[in-house]
């Protein structure tokens, strides 16, 4: 088998930057669309946390499966979802991923193993555990990943899921996106524990990483994934980050002092990655070109989404159950 040159550190950095830029651009556009009343319901942005989804996704393969949560745009885009269908869904259109039935909190794409965002805090945890069980039994060679917040740490299924995964040596990566907040309350006021100590309780391998450093996240994720894929059982990866926006768009964040937001803003993972890339020799024009290219991609997706047709009730009603099929004898 021939060998190509390993991609240079610079090109790797640029790939990560490009991926983060895509998440950022998409979410900023979502924020604007929401403010303009073009998005029904509510949306939770992961702005400032892109290094987590992108860094972890960099360690994954297409058919690795992923269970996400309410703040799942980054997970979805990083996992490789089609941008048009992503925006179509969030705008509630017929050709969206969920045919307009789910919206932001339910984006899914089975073709790339994205098992869905989830409106129930903690619910993705056992889903990922079960998906990992399927990978193991079906010997797919794939793994399952779940993203959950620090607030989700308090749910009972966290414990049940960590225990089950460790007990059965399942190929699952638990990614705790520790952004300091659980809605309008500091997660620290909700937890007498933390991800590292919880993992330790099950003798589960665990890593902690600066979640705003995409290179560090990618490196940690690659290490964890390699071990998981090698059959060594689950791992918990804690990514320390900060929520930049409100819990959902429209949240005035009166409960939060300005300093907290300012700190979060100062530590922008995209800026950090950009600085690193330039330091590694990437020309500013390349960065600018990426920005422009991605802005165009998002423009195009938004335009497609805006002009999308609304879904028809009759189709939705017909899709509650699978089409009936022949019974075996």
């Amino acid at each position: 088998m021939g060998r190509t040159d390993p991609p240079s550190a610079t090109s790797q950095l640029l790939e990560l930057y490009r991926a983060m830029r895509l998440v950022r651009e998409a979410e900023e556009r979502l924020g604007a669309l929401f403010a303009d009343g073009e998005i029904p319901g509510f949306i939770h942005l992961s702005i400032g946390q892109e290094a987590v989804s992108v860094g972890v996704a960099a360690a994954l393969q297409q058919h690795d499966t992923l269970a996400s949560n309410h703040r799942g745009h980054g997970h979805a885009i990083a996992k490789g979802l089609d941008l048009d269908r992503f925006f179509l869904e969030i705008l509630g259109k017929r050709d969206g991923y969920c045919r307009g039935r789910g919206g932001s909190m339910h984006v899914a794409d089975m073709t790339v193993g994205m098992l869905g965002a989830n409106g129930i805090v903690g619910a993705g945890l056992p889903i990922a555990v079960g998906s990992a069980l399927a990978h193991k039994l079906r010997r797919t060679g794939h793994i399952a990943v779940v993203f959950f917040g620090d607030g989700a740490m308090a749910e009972g299924v966290l414990h049940e899921s960590l225990n089950l995964a460790q007990l059965w040596t399942l190929p699952v990566l638990f990614v705790c996106e520790n952004n300091g907040w659980s809605e309008f309350t500091e997660a620290a006021r909700q937890l007498a524990t933390d991800p590292q100590r919880m993992a330790a309780a099950y003798s589960m391998r665990a890593l902690q990483v600066d979640g705003n450093d995409v290179v560090a996240v990618a490196a940690a994720a690659r290490m964890a994934v390699a071990q998981i894929r090698a059959g060594e059982g689950p791992c918990l990866l804690e990514c320390k980050t900060r929520r930049v926006r409100g819990h959902y768009e429209g949240d005035a964040q009166k409960y939060r002092d300005a300093g907290d937001i300012a700190t979060a803003l100062r530590n922008d993972p995209l800026v950090r990655c950009e600085v690193q890339a330039i330091a590694a020799g990437a020309p500013q024009e390349t960065i600018d070109a990426i920005k422009a290219e991605i802005a165009d991609r998002v423009d195009a997706a938004v335009a497609t989404a805006r002009s999308g047709a609304p879904p028809a009730p009759v189709d939705a009603f017909a899709d509650v159950y699978s089409p009936t099929h022949e019974l075996p004898s």
Partner: protein, 324 residues
């Protein structure tokens, strides 16, 4: 008498109850410092302090279970579940513990707790944030279930729930929180289990509750233009529900339509229809027609959700069906 919002009426009921009885406490996600996800508990932390008004972790099962233990040990806890869809996580505490304790322990202990939870759609919150699951709870002996439709009832049913010695689920329609209405200067509690005649008519009985009451009233206005006068009954309490009032109305109108936002099949309306098809059979001049959501999860997109939720037109059509 003053005009207040539905959410404010609940807020005032909580304040009055907590002022009247130091054993009343409040537990829930974001209910204290942030004042509640829908602002219903605003100001309570300042008034009653952090011992009695508590932000909890995202641990619905444990906080509901803790309310059971607290109620058995002398408190009257009020738990807020942020969306009724999350009641799935509290079913054991509600059904196997709270509902059964009094009966199961031979009447030794009652469990005076309240669980508040918003249900329903209308804000495109999608499949996991819009459900109306009250029929589950109404099926559980030992629980009481109320669902206010008006500002006055938002106050009075909340007060009644808190003072009740049994576990009471208070279901609030999230689209009603901002609705305005009159609240008496010294409002009182209202007995659980009594329906309210929201409009009097002689031609058909429309039984409904919660946010659908105003929709049914709008339908009644439309029907009146065609000379059809509908009785609109606001159940207020779903368990127990006011069979006598419904039957009395049916005895006058001989036609029954039941409307709720929950999925029609196996919903609250099924029980009302079934009872009336038994005890009210001789009064019925027409099929009992229900108006509820079709058998699918609440969808997200506006076109879908609008189609999904019952509206005045569907109620009018249902009433006319019973007249034809």
């Amino acid at each position: 008498m003053s005009e207040v919002r539905f959410g404010q009426a609940i807020n005032r009921a909580l304040i009055d109850a907590m002022t009247a009885d130091p054993s009343v406490i409040l537990l829930g996600e974001d209910v204290a410092r942030p004042g509640g996800p829908f602002g219903v508990t605003r100001g309570l932390l300042d008034k009653f302090g952090p011992e009695r008004v508590r932000d909890t972790p995202i641990s619905e099962a444990a906080i509901t279970g803790a309310a059971v233990g607290a109620a058995m040990t002398g408190l009257r806890p009020i738990v807020e579940i942020m969306f009724m869809d999350f009641v799935t996580l509290t079913m054991d505490a509600l059904v196997n513990q709270a509902a059964k304790a009094r009966f199961m322990f031979g009447g030794q202990s009652s469990v005076p707790m309240v669980v508040r939870m918003p249900h329903g759609g209308g804000i495109n919150a999608g499949p996991q944030h819009s459900q109306c699951l009250e029929a589950w709870l109404a099926h559980v002996p030992g629980l009481k279930v109320v669902c206010p439709a008006t500002v006055a009832d938002a106050y009075s049913l909340t007060r009644a729930a808190i003072v009740d010695d049994d576990p009471v689920i208070v279901i609030e329609h999230k689209a009603l929180y901002a609705a305005k209405g009159e609240l008496a200067d010294s409002p009182t509690a209202t007995p659980i289990g009594r329906a309210r005649i929201a409009r009097e008519g002689r031609d058909a009985t429309i039984v409904t509750y919660g946010a659908m009451v105003s929709v049914a009233l709008a339908a009644a206005v439309e029907l009146a233009q065609d000379g059809v006068e509908a009785d609109v009954i606001d159940l207020r309490s779903l368990q127990p529900w006011d069979e006598a009032t419904v039957l009395a109305s049916l005895t006058r109108t001989h036609r029954l339509i039941i409307c709720h936002e929950a999925v029609e099949a196996f919903g609250i309306g099924a029980e009302i229809a079934a009872r009336m098809a038994d005890v009210g059979f001789d009064e019925l001049d027409a099929p009992i027609v229900r108006v509820g959501a079709p058998f699918m999860p609440p969808p997200f997109a506006k076109t879908l959700e609008d189609w999904y939720r019952p509206d005045a037109a569907k109620i009018v059509a249902a009433v006319k069906k019973t007249m034809s």
